[in-house]
């Protein structure tokens, strides 16, 4: 299980990286390496070129704006886990990050790498979908794009970026202070890939009713999804148990895959329970 041969490039600037991406055939970007290196060692991937973007300084910033949280693509998951600004403006990160892999993988794993890997059970892609985040990319020739996350998610582990496009950052629209949040995941062991995950953001109006709500489910299908049906049911309601139950039952008709860890019916059942628990926890936090 040793990596196959490849040409190694370590560009020091974004322009240099984009130039390489535009000219090299069958090239892969090496960010945190926690998924890519494993696939190289397992010899699932045979790139001719590896472009290591760890030495590009400009991709590691976390900036808080009034309306959004801008996170550089190369920000390490561990940095996100302990950054005080993130904790203040988007507390759901604090509940989500410790569930990603293990400390050793979070020290190196990046948010950009996680979004481009787009693992069905990936926590950060689900978080991005939950926030209706936008992905910023660049390509040679000053070509820049901002892609809404729903459009960025193309299919199973397939983001809709071009081979010569490089993700430079992700913007998470901010929710009003005091919003309710919850991330719940079920994995066989702590740190394993999630069999199912559910995330919820909501804010209450002055009348105590749910004014704005976002619910996402991951780990059971080929891609993370928004539970828009459940959102519609909850919007405007006081978040009573009957309505919450009805919302969580929307998982019944989600795409769910079977594999050696669990069949589709089991995964949908777990997703339903996790959605119920996530909504309840978010309501509890919003009310406080």
């Amino acid at each position: 299980m040793k990596p196959p041969p490849f040409e190694y490039h370590a560009p020091a600037s974004l322009d240099e990286a984009c130039a390489l991406l535009a000219t090299l055939e069958n090239a892969k970007l090496l960010a945190g390496g926690q998924s890519l290196m494993a696939m190289l060692n397992l010899r699932f991937l045979y790139p001719d070129h590896l472009i290591d973007i760890n030495r590009i300084p400009s991709l590691c910033e976390i900036t808080v704006h009034p309306d959004r949280l801008a996170i550089g693509a190369m920000v390490r998951q561990r940095a996100l886990e302990v950054d005080p600004n993130v904790a203040r403006t988007a507390p759901i990160f604090g509940e989500t990050l410790p569930l990603i892999g293990h400390r050793q993988t979070r020290n190196r794993g990046t948010i950009g790498g996680s979004l481009c890997q787009l693992d069905p059970a990936g926590e950060l892609p689900l978080l991005a979908l939950l926030h209706d985040a936008t992905v910023r990319t660049v390509a040679a020739g000053e070509r820049r794009r901002t892609i809404p996350i729903a459009q960025f998610i193309g299919g199973f582990m397939s983001p809709t970026i071009e081979p010569d496009e490089l993700v430079v950052g992700v913007d998470f629209p901010r929710w009003p202070d005091g919003h309710g949040y919850a991330f719940r995941e079920h994995a066989r062991r702590h740190g394993d890939f999630a069999l199912a995950s559910a995330a919820c953001l909501l804010s209450l109006g002055d009348d105590g009713r749910i004014m704005k709500v976002a619910i996402g489910v991951g780990g059971i299908g080929s891609v993370p999804v928004r539970l828009s049906g459940a959102e519609a049911i909850l919007a405007g309601s006081p978040g009573d148990p009957v309505t919450v139950e009805q919302a969580s039952r929307q998982c019944a008709d989600l795409e769910a895959l079977s594999d050696v860890h669990g069949h589709a019916a089991y995964r949908r059942s777990v997703a339903t329970a996790l959605v119920r628990r996530a909504i309840a926890a978010a309501l509890d936090r919003a009310a406080r």
Binding site: E7, Y8, Q34, M37, A38, L42, N54, R108
Partner: protein, 167 residues
């Protein structure tokens, strides 16, 4: 696949070697630099036996290329005891609490515990178990390892007042 010369600080000593870009950091430490204390158990980033510290952060050295460690500060199990050979409290605690049996996962456990204690001098049992949840052990059932890390934490914390451990 032209070989590259890299220079890195390993356990406080500057080391230079010429490596193929695809050589993993684990294989570089073991076979180019002769530091066979870092072990391989899976080579796809799950078992934690290959854990070393790079610039103070624990990493799986099977998921890093040696060329990526250019001018980095790498610490391996061979660099935990003092130059004089005096064991670090963690190493003594592992022996005192039967924290190892075959010893194959021990280097990875020690490096992971070093990072934990550097950040959290008084971890609870649950903190310790989460910290080593990414390190597989088939022999001990982890209880001796958890006891060792808690014992070392108490030992270090006790001396923290007088003088932190120096090798």
């Amino acid at each position: 696949m032209t070989p590259v010369e890299i220079t890195l600080d390993v356990n406080g000593v500057a080391r230079t070697c010429v490596v193929e870009p695809r050589l993993t950091l684990a294989d570089c430490l073991r076979h180019e630099l002769g530091l066979t204390g870092t072990h391989l158990g899976c080579e796809n980033g799950v078992c934690g036996a290959c854990t070393v510290l790079v610039d103070g952060a624990s990493v799986r050295s099977c998921l890093m290329l040696a060329v990526q460690a250019q001018s980095a500060r790498v610490q391996t199990v061979e660099g935990v005891a003092g130059a004089s050979g005096r064991l670090h409290p963690l190493q003594e605690a592992f022996r005192r609490n039967h924290g190892l049996q075959c010893g194959y996962c021990t280097p990875g456990m020690l490096m992971t515990a070093l990072e934990l204690l550097a950040e959290n001098p008084t971890p609870t049992e649950a903190d310790v178990r989460v910290a080593i949840s990414g390190n597989l052990c088939r022999c001990t059932g982890y209880q001796g390892i958890v006891a060792s890390i808690l014992d070392a934490a108490a030992e270090l914390h006790e001396h923290m007042g007088t003088r932190p451990w120096d090798p």
